[in-house]
Symmetry: C2
Subunit: 394 residues, 2 copies
């Protein structure tokens, strides 16, 4: 037996472990200091009451023979697929029911979708980047090339027709930069993909933070996207499902090449290697899309959006350049005073005990940048902002 | 962009759709007849009360900020991994906590584990076979070879040292044949794998049906298995989790080749492409391993075991050759009167309205055989057995 030696090519990341080690060392040396964590990429508010009620009801279904559910459809129950279809219809995007696949989260499907593509494809990602896009392709031995995201393009690189890419990853609003493409910009990427015969894997996990109507909430707002794009979304950030695990993937039937259909291939992949999301969880997810659920999750999102605004306003008042913060839970800022990412990390930790994430951990273009997140509590966020202002107003 | 053209090599199976069509056509033509389904491979009894209580409690945890859970460890919470470790310890198998990975089911992990193996490996499966083992490898372009299971070997093929295989699939108790290896037989396969440098992917999804102490409940009962085997198990049949989705995979740290570790690679694969099983579901799964849960699931298993015995006793009384039925929910029988699998299917449907699964649907060696299952209700099973006796006693 031979192992897959491409695993030896995956870069080891020490980003979050180094952050944790530095924070632990600081706290051990300074037990009296209160450390404020604005590096967290996880939600902190509990599930909405409508979701909790639906989960309880579904658990009860599983306790009685008449309502018990065994194997469900691998691609998800119709009650949830129809709810997702209605959500897209609100944005003017008409999908067929069997273009929607319920998943246990965007990360799983973003990795697993690669089963349907040849290992010979060239993959284009941005730098900085969510590392999962790179690692999943390196594992399979695919060539990965980079599009520079930087201050010049507002961390929103646009297509370069001199570059031939087969698989393009876009994440908007972006993790880690918080930058979000307009519908017009997404249209340029769709046009590029259709011209090149490429496919776009579009990660819309943060779409719920978009409030500006000019920004894309789905790639399918662009014309022609159904012949070149697959979209991944999640309830993780939308409804606090990071530990509850449910998302959805849209694979249009029009995405075909050489007589093969992405939709048919993904269905075959999922029916062969997946047995669907738990019935209980799908019932909870469906409650997110009810009027009651929608209203409750908006209240939670408003808390995170309020935190993001506090941080963004702080950057504005200090004259620090940043992206995100307005249509995203992430604030990606240029480290003041010419500090590099890790110098700034240490500077904040030592002086004001605020913890964020060094931008260089997401790629070479992240050097000199820093990520703060809006997932803390309003109290912690307010205190962190006060400390930032005091430190940099000096 | 190029699709993965290996998908064109996957055989299309019409087994269950053809069964469904034939039954629907019969019912439409004979609306007054009661059709009895003994082809079902899904559980029908509701979740145990201890599991239901744990699920409700975990839902409540998600409703309060203090007990809310966001992202969990991809490999599963310690409370569940420790429960699984204790279950193995009862069989004298000592595992390290981080050799156990919590999964959303055996099918997912049986497919996804292939990420860590080179596509150049040759795969050995039995014929007849659970089709997922074949399809997942054909998708990746691996060569698949077959070991004959037949009446001569009791549908339990043993290793042939003249055959060089890199990845060997064993399923015991077997789906579809119900045949189960003894510990001594599993030892022979482990010795073969260690001699050849092969890996065994051992599907133990039906281990809970084993009551005969000479039969293997885990491959790790064989000496040396930790250097050559990965085991997949599931609560689907053990605790009726087919719609609740939880299983576990054991990847020993001793399974190494050329400086690469299966355990480290699988951890990397899962942290990159998976975000763990829902917290709520893991709490429900942990309840399966409590004394109360164990006692309750045994009561459910006893119902299915009783059904299996009814069918097996019927075969005995009719003098029909079969495997399974005693340590398995499946009864795999030789079609009487020299009928082939589909002739027998039609014969039962037309004459006594009993539905099973034609053995030829699981491979060429299944021709002339037929699968009945114990997952129906006792009432349906008793009536089906009475009709079988009446038909063949003529």
């Amino acid at each position: 037996m031979q192992f897959n030696t491409h695993f030896n090519d995956i870069a080891q990341s020490y980003l979050f472990s180094t952050v944790a080690q530095k924070v632990a060392a600081y706290q051990a040396a300074n037990p009296g200091k209160q450390v404020l964590r604005l590096g967290i990429g996880d939600v902190t508010l509990p599930l909405a009451p409508a979701v909790i009620a639906a989960l309880h009801s579904a658990v009860d279904d599983m306790s009685r023979r008449e309502t018990f559910r065994g194997y469900g459809p691998e691609q998800g129950y119709d009650f949830l697929r129809e709810a997702v279809r209605g959500y897209y219809a609100e944005r003017g995007v008409e999908l067929l029911p069997d273009e929607i696949f319920i998943s246990d989260g965007a990360k799983s499907d973003l990795g697993n979708i690669l089963d349907i593509f040849s290992d010979a494809n060239t993959v284009l990602v941005t730098d900085p980047v969510y590392p999962v896009y790179v690692d999943t392709n390196v594992m399979a031995g695919r060539k990965v090339i980079y599009a520079d995201a930087n201050e010049g393009n507002g961390f929103l690189p646009m297509p370069d027709y001199s570059v031939d890419a087969d698989i393009v990853y876009l994440c908007s609003p972006n993790n880690p930069t918080g930058a979000a493409y307009t519908v017009a910009q997404v249209q340029e990427w769709v046009d590029y993909a259709n011209a090149k015969g490429a496919v776009i894997l579009y990660d819309a996990a943060y779409e719920c933070f978009v409030t500006d109507d000019s920004l894309a909430r789905t790639i399918f707002q662009a014309k022609g996207a159904k012949t070149c794009a697959i979209e991944f979304c999640s309830l993780s950030k939308t409804a606090g499902f990071t530990g509850t695990r449910c998302g959805y993937t849209v694979v249009p039937k029009a995405l075909q090449r050489g007589g093969m259909s992405a939709n048919a291939m993904w269905l075959r992949r999922q029916t062969t290697k997946f047995n669907g999301v738990p019935y209980i969880i799908q019932r909870g997810a469906a409650a997110v899309f009810t009027p009651e659920g929608r209203s409750q999750i908006q209240a939670n999102l408003a808390v995170y959006q309020g935190n993001a605004k506090l941080i963004a306003d702080c950057m504005d008042s200090l004259g620090i350049w940043y992206t995100g913060g307005k249509n995203s839970p992430y604030i990606w800022l240029r480290c003041p005073g010419g500090m590099d990412s890790w110098q700034f990390f240490d500077h904040l930790l030592q002086n004001i005990q605020v913890v964020g994430t060094p931008g260089v951990g997401f790629g070479a273009n992240g050097e000199g940048y820093f990520r703060l997140t809006a997932f803390g509590s309003p109290e912690v966020t307010r205190e962190a902002v006060a400390r930032l202002k005091a430190l940099f107003a000096k």
